[in-house]
């Protein structure tokens, strides 16, 4: 099988690492060779963050390059646009429509670009945009955006919900299990 590529992008502190950990675990359980490349340190402090997940028969490089990603799972709209160039032709972006202003926008040095969804779609991207924040809040916490998005992502794979729920059970602390299961379910059925 040819190597598949997914990027998880967002803003430091949004919980992208849990999403990649969980997805990586699921892929390993399915018998794939897997690599997950994370960002730690400096850029975690509210900066733009990216995680690469790759799976297949044999995965070499731990990173994904421009024009390679089958999926980009984006936790924030501007970040989807930032990383769009990494999508392969025919790839899909699944994005939260939430907007978080970066510092240059806050200080007025730059503007948050308008109509990003429309323009990404016009550029030929298969775009699946959703308000993951509201669903996360419905599930019980704005922090559960990651599981809502994973739920939405799961619709593009053939595995039954049970497979995903097992990976959630294995990756999430007991205390938050119910919340995360619910968030995933809401995302999957949104």
């Amino acid at each position: 099988m040819e190597t598949k590529n997914m990027m998880i992008v967002g803003v430091g502190g949004q919980g992208t690492l849990l999403a990649s950990k969980l997805f990586g675990r699921l892929l390993l359980d399915q018998g794939y060779d897997v690599k997950v490349s994370e960002v730690h340190g400096m850029s975690q402090r509210g900066g733009s963050v990216v995680t690469y997940v790759r799976w297949g028969d044999r995965v070499c490089s731990p990173v994904i390059d421009k024009g390679e990603a089958d999926f980009i799972l984006s936790f924030e709209l501007l970040e989807a646009a930032r990383w769009m160039e990494f999508l392969r032709p025919g790839g899909r972006i699944i994005t939260n429509t939430q907007q978080i202003n970066p510092m240059p926008v806050i200080t007025g040095a730059a503007e948050y670009p308008q109509a990003l969804e429309k323009r990404m779609a016009e550029a030929g991207v298969a775009l699946d945009a959703m308000d993951a924040l509201s669903l996360a809040e419905e599930a019980g916490s704005s922090k559960a955006v990651n599981l809502v998005l994973l739920g939405r992502l799961s619709r593009y794979f053939d595995w039954p919900e049970e497979t995903w729920q097992q990976a959630i059970t294995a990756s999430v602390p007991e205390k938050f299990l119910e919340l995360n299961r619910k968030a995933f379910h809401l995302g999957r059925n949104s």
């Binding site: 803003v11 430091g12 950990k21 990586g24 675990r25 390993l28 060779d33 897997v34 690599k35 997950v36 490349s37 994370e38 960002v39 730690h40 340190g41 400096m42 850029s43 975690q44 402090r45 509210g46 900066g47 733009s48 995965v59 070499c60 490089s61 731990p62 990173v63 390059d65 421009k66 024009g67 390679e68 990603a69 501007l78 970040e79 646009a81 930032r82 769009m84 160039e85 990494f86 999508l87 392969r88 032709p89 202003n101 970066p102 510092m103 240059p104 926008v105 806050i106 200080t107 007025g108 730059a110 503007e111 670009p113 990003l116 323009r119 990404m120 550029a123 030929g124 991207v125 704005s142």
Partner: protein
């Protein structure tokens, strides 16, 4: 069992399986998780040392006492620990000793992009260089075998992409090597000239034997290819990019042992291909070695010494097809890291900016104080350089800059290498004002305990070094504490200490808001009738505040109610809940 592990976790697993007993490290991205993961194994004694030199010497002491030991650090940490490194290369070890060092090509979280392989060559020590997590585990275990077989410390070189990528590992059981009895061996362990002069030839001989070993070391391997027009020598993460784009097309010599290098293996490989190509990140280290052997090759003339590689870069340089994507036509605003909402560093930097001071800075979360709108840092070099630097700055300015210049340094950084600079200020008497930004944690690298926090690596309570007492003991008479959330208090204290005719220390104390035990206040709200849109609250660069349509707004998901912005509002428009 097969699991996914970060390269750093795999090193820790290797330490565990090899029976390592003592780990002493200083945190530094991308090396930190090795020691954090090692600390989770009850069989391993693991600690955070105040700096890398102490960590390495502690690990050496443990080896001397007969137990396998480890110390871990980032690339620049090895500069700090270089002094013991070059001499334990002479003494060798008693039980096995491994030194983990992680480079950061691309400077994801570092102040420079130095290549640690030069240390192996300069100190004449063996260095292993894994390319994924499975190798990280295997090489760590092998490093102990090598260390004991050749009586040498062994360097284990990681890098950001190996340290911070999860890949599949197969875990094994721990061996429990019998402690090696300690015996006094003056000629081996007392490195005064008369002894050291006899150890140097031992080092040279050992290096020859290691080079011999490198010829058959299983970590240096040729992977056959169908097309011998090009042959690639590579290592570490570059190997992965090469395999990604070339598959089995070109023959590859993968070097898992970065130093010493196998002469015959390289010559034979070179002879089997038409164009020898070396693909390595950062410096042309393998390249230089090959050139010294008289081989001609393509190396840094093609592959840049700058930054990280990727599969597209390697494909492009090898003339292979490169995938392309589509970008939006407009520039996407950058999203640089920012000081968190409620960060205690913010109020202090606001005050430094307001007073227009020259600020010698240091390394930590507070380096973000250099970024507009705070923009209150003039220099950042390496850990400790603020405190030593201000002394030289003031001496050179001959009184001219007194009263206008401060040094800022974090609590962890102060313990790491600020103390000696402060000793110099006291001893050689400059009129410096040093501000210790005490947020009660090592923030930048992800919340590690340090000697001032009162907790050790395992999270147990332990002796807490008292900064006030320490600074006074060093000879500073004027030591005071301020709360950085209180802008008036900060400003008054800084003005007073700058006016004082002697050196002083101001401890700006408040724990990092991200610490679990810190109770935050409810978010502020904006009284839109009172807000005139003057943007005074924007001067602190808080990610929770923005101005839209002429009125300030507070993002309630981010605001932690620190009230620093409230102190800047002349119109009483920012309110804590319940305030009228």
């Amino acid at each position: 069992m097969k699991t996914l592990m970060l390269g750093n976790e795999a090193v820790a697993r290797g330490l565990y399986e090899a029976g390592c007993a003592v780990v002493s490290s200083y945190p530094g991205t991308p090396s930190t998780e090795i020691t954090e993961a090692a600390a989770k194994y009850p069989e391993i004694y693991a600690e955070w040392a105040p700096n890398e030199k102490v960590g390495m010497e502690t690990a050496f002491g443990a080896s001397l006492a007969g137990r396998r030991s480890f110390c871990g650090m980032k690339h620049v940490g090895l500069n700090v620990a270089a002094d013991p490194l070059f001499t334990i290369a002479y003494t060798g070890v008693n039980a096995g000793m491994v030194i983990g060092v992680a480079d950061d090509a691309g400077m994801h979280s570092s102040q420079n992009e130095q290549d640690s392989r030069h240390y192996a060559k300069a100190a004449k020590l063996p260095m292993l260089e894994p390319a994924d997590s499975a190798e990280a585990l295997a090489f760590t275990k092998a490093a102990y075998e090598l260390s004991e077989r050749f009586d040498t410390p062994v360097l284990l070189k990681m890098c950001t992409r190996v340290s911070h990528s999860q890949s599949v590992v197969e875990t094994g059981e721990r061996v429990e090597p019998a402690p090696v009895p300690y015996e006094k061996k003056a000629a081996k362990y007392i490195m005064m000239p008369g002894n050291a002069i006899r150890r140097h030839p031992v080092v040279e001989e050992r290096l020859k034997q290691l080079a011999e070993y490198a010829e058959t070391c299983p970590f240096n391997r040729v992977e056959e290819g169908s097309d011998h027009k090009v042959g690639i020598i590579t290592s570490s993460t570059s190997y992965q990019y090469v395999k990604e784009v070339c598959g089995d097309r070109f023959p590859v010599l993968k070097l898992g042992m970065a130093w010493p290098m196998p002469e015959k293996l390289i010559r034979d490989f070179a002879a089997s291909v038409s164009l020898l190509t070396v693909v390595e990140e950062l410096d042309g280290f393998i390249e230089d070695h090959c050139r010294a052997l008289g081989l001609s090759l393509a190396g840094k003339d093609v592959f840049t010494p700058l930054g990280e590689f990727s599969q597209n870069l390697v494909a492009e340089k090898l003339g292979l097809p490169v995938p392309r994507g589509t970008a939006l036509e407009e520039t996407i605003p950058a999203r640089p890291p920012v000081m968190c909402a409620g960060c205690p560093h913010r109020g202090l930097f606001y005050t430094l900016n307001k007073l227009k001071l020259t600020v010698l800075g240091d390394i930590g979360c507070y380096t973000l104080g250099a970024v507009p709108p705070l923009a209150a840092i003039d220099s950042t070099i390496c850990m400790g350089a603020s405190v030593s630097g201000i002394h030289g700055f003031l001496k050179a300015a001959g009184g001219e800059m007194d009263g206008r210049t401060v040094a800022v340094i974090g609590d962890s950084t102060f313990m790491h290498s600020g103390i000696t600079g402060l000793v110099n200020i006291a001893y050689n008497e400059s009129n410096a004002t040093v501000i210790i930004l005490d947020n009660s944690i090592t923030g930048m690298t992800g919340h590690q305990q340090n000697p001032t926090t009162g907790f050790n690596l395992k999270g147990d309570p332990c002796t807490k070094i008292d900064l006030e007492t320490l600074c006074k003991a060093v000879g500073i008479r004027r030591v005071r504490v301020v709360d950085p959330y209180d802008l008036a208090q900060c400003e008054a204290a800084i003005k007073e200490e700058l006016a004082a005719p002697e050196a002083s220390v101001i401890i700006s104390r408040r724990p990092c808001v991200l610490l679990k035990y810190v109770k935050t206040a409810p978010p502020l709200t904006v009284d839109k009738d009172k807000c005139v849109g003057c943007k005074a609250c924007m001067k602190i660069g808080c990610p929770a505040i923005s101005v839209r349509d002429g009125k300030a707004g507070v993002d309630e998901t981010l605001c932690v109610g620190c009230n620093v912005c409230q102190q800047l509002c002349k119109f009483d428009a920012l309110r804590a809940p319940g305030e009228v």
